[in-house]
Amino acid sequence: MKAFTYQRADSTAHAAAAAAKPGARFIAGGTNLLDLMKLQVETPSELVDINRLPLDKIEETPDGGLRVGALVRNSDLAADSRVRQRYGVLSRALLAGASAQLRNKATTGGNLLQRTRCYYFYDVTKPCNKRNPGSGCAALAGFNRIHAILGTSDHCIATHPSDMAVAMRALDAKVETVNGEGEPRVIPIAEFHRLPGKTPEIETSLKPGEIITAVTLPPPPPGVHVYRKVRDRASYAFALVSVAAIVDSTRGRIRSARLAFGGLALKPWREPQAEEKLVDASADTATFGAAANAVLDGARGFGGNDFKIPLTRRTLHSVLAETTRT
């Protein structure tokens, strides 16, 4: 871990200004950042501790939604009675992630910003275009079991590991930020994470010195909420494939559905064409298959992760069957 100077931010504006300096990083929960700093994947020269900022509330919004402060801990967000009642998919997704100790420390903002768990990203002696642009991608011809099947490029096939982000994507969340001048911005979550393209080192739409202050959730859409996570262990493991689903149906007829997928790409994956196939559709194998085809259009495996394609198909079928069971 490289040496750094440590300071505590006493206001959001101070934090944003401090973080505009190159080599500066916010630290909130720190459960991803410190993990990476110990291996020198992250080497900030300055840490700006934002834990004392007043960004830890969950509040109702005028339109019947919820605003979640960036520093709300994952466990608190999952346990909040309003989230449990109205945004069950988000609560389940949060509870599916990490361990209790980590959920107690991890924050909303930090969860969105956590970085990939690609083995080669984590090893500074190996080529990685995300960590070291131009050095190559060791995962393409290496061990790529946990890697992406959608939205990949020749430069990077990593996945985003968050469960919370997948549920938030299904809920059409918006990320609120503020910069050093105090100027606010709203970034729809669909635009928050970037696919690798030719620049895998650029992971989000945030600008230097911009700090996430909150995530707002619109009023929840109607339907049954499910977060299904398929992984190697029953608990405390990342998703191989996950599905956040909100499915509105009656007596075997689907009115509408929202589907977001984790474990498949460097951002939560939503495919409008798949959701279209479910509008006013009969809840049967043919419909589920058509939706899966739409999601998996263009999917490709890299040898170690080919299984994710049929696994996604079956998981989606199972989730749709579960949510439409009469």
């Binding site: 110990k38 500074v124 190996k126």
Partner: protein, 474 residues
């Protein structure tokens, strides 16, 4: 002392201790955080060490530049092959020399050891050591190197091969045959406590607080490696956070700490990082095993064959003895067991939790299960029909053997006679439920052992033995 008959009831049985539940003697210490493990022994003036691993599988260090690391805050020493002392040699059970030269023989081999005033400084400086390599091609995959596998000859170990009768002929002519190949993956002990050592010298006497399961052995290995008399080496290991075979032998942490401590004349401690443990210490080799069983139509084994491939560094002869217990478990007049070791450029393979038995019995018992199915015979009955009356290869009597009685009692208790022999017949909600069985055997080598007993006037007897119980048993 002869051991030709069972000991029978005696004074130890009357004490009411053997066979009764007992709170662990060290229980209170362990639940209050009071048990101190190697890295936790309190010591003034201690320095912290950190290993730098080779990041290639095989080759040579072309250059190693330690200047930035040496100048880094808090750093007092960077050891490489250029400034390490000459050490004794041998296989991993005899010696553990470190930083011996520019050759890289396996991934993760230590290439430098950084010592600093604090852990944070040592770790940061380790990343400043700049190593450039000339890579050579290596051989890493067992399955691709079977043609290079040979019979191993480790010291003090059973012969790699055994043969009784005419296996090939008996197998070929038998009415019922099973011929199956199984593979098991490489396994790591992954005990909770990383390997750790605190080393200090008192003149020319070395004291090592180290996580080690076999202290007498470790003492000799350290002495051999550092070229000092064995009586000058003391190993202290009252608590170990798990071993499972991974802390049987001396590892690089102990030797690196000892060398650095001697050079710096200060205590040095080091714990391997979790990531480093997988490369710097031993593991169980993967195996490829071919089991061949042949019987008459009633399921009596006529021929039993078990071939095992495992891999290890070319300088090591330790192999995974997966067929050793096949030599004693079932009867059969014609027998062949063979072990072949492939030289691979991988970290050292050695003992892990039931070495040989764990993976070998898996293969043998799966094959027996397939055989029972082919014969349409109850798997328990198959064992009954093949229970040997004496050791089937050595032809000497068992002192006692109750496998069949255990199987029959187990069958009774588990309701074996109510089971569905055909898989996939029983549902419990979303689950398909099945019932199977397997037998197992483990060698129990008897060695000379010593105890020292002191009897005090108040009637207290204190017994001392060179025995380790690391909490998981021996």
């Amino acid at each position: 002392m002869e051991m030709n008959s069972p000991i029978g009831p005696n004074a130890l049985d009357a004490q009411g201790v053997v066979g009764k539940p007992l709170d662990r003697v060290d229980g209170r210490l362990k639940v209050t955080g009071g048990a101190r493990y190697a890295y936790e022994m309190q010591q003034d003036n201690v320095l912290y060490g950190f290993v730098v691993e080779a990041s290639i599988g095989k080759g040579k260090i072309k250059s190693i530049d330690t200047r930035a690391a040496e100048k880094a805050p808090g750093v007092v020493l960077v050891l490489t092959y250029r400034n390490s002392p000459e050490q004794g040699t041998g296989n991993h059970r005899e010696a553990h020399p470190v930083l011996t030269g520019p050759e890289v023989t396996r991934y993760g081999e230590p290439v430098a050891f950084v010592v600093a005033e604090s852990f944070e400084e040592a770790r940061a400086a380790a990343y400043l050591v700049d190593v450039k390599y000339d890579r050579s091609s290596g051989k890493y995959t067992l399955r691709n190197n079977l043609d290079r596998a040979r019979a191993p000859h480790p010291k003090d170990a059973p012969a790699a091969d055994s043969a009784v009768g005419d296996f090939a002929g008996a197998f070929a002519s038998a009415p019922v045959q099973i011929d199956l190949t199984y593979t098991t993956p490489l396994q790591s002990h992954a005990m909770m406590e990383p390997h750790a050592t605190l080393a200090m010298w008192d003149g020319d006497k070395l004291i090592l607080h180290t996580a080690n399961q076999m202290l007498n052995q470790g003492q000799k290995v350290v002495a051999t490696t550092l070229k000092i008399p064995v009586e000058n080496v003391r190993l202290i290991s009252p608590f170990i956070g798990g071993g499972f075979g991974g802390k049987l032998w001396v590892n690089a942490d102990a030797i690196l700490a000892a060398i650095a401590s001697r050079q710096l004349k200060r205590p040095v401690k080091i714990a391997l990082t979790r990531q480093q443990i997988f490369h710097v210490t031993t593991h169980r080799s993967d195996t490829i095993q071919r089991v061949r069983l042949a019987t008459d139509r009633e399921g009596h084994i006529l021929a039993i064959g078990h071939d095992v491939f495992s891999g290890n560094l070319p300088s090591e002869q330790t192999y995974e003895g997966a067929a050793l217990q096949t030599r004693t478990l079932y009867a059969g007049a014609n027998r062949l067991t063979r072990h072949r070791l492939a030289p691979l450029d991988i970290p050292v393979a050695s003992s892990m939790r039931a070495p040989g038995e764990a993976v070998g019995l898996m293969a043998l018992e799966c094959a027996m299960d397939e055989l029972a199915e082919k014969l349409n015979l109850d798997p328990v009955e198959l064992r009954v029909r093949n229970e040997p009356s004496e050791d089937p290869e050595k032809h000497i009597p068992f002192s006692s053997r109750h496998l069949i009685a255990c199987l029959q009692e187990g069958a009774r208790r588990f309701g074996w006679d109510k089971r569905h022999a055909k898989p996939g017949q029983v549902r419990d909600g979303r689950w398909l439920v099945g019932m199977g069985m397997a037998a197992a055997t483990r060698g129990n080598p008897l060695l000379l052992s010593k105890a020292n007993v002191r009897l005090d006037p108040d009637g207290t007897a204190t017994v001392r033995m060179a025995m380790t119980d690391i909490g998981t048993g021996t």
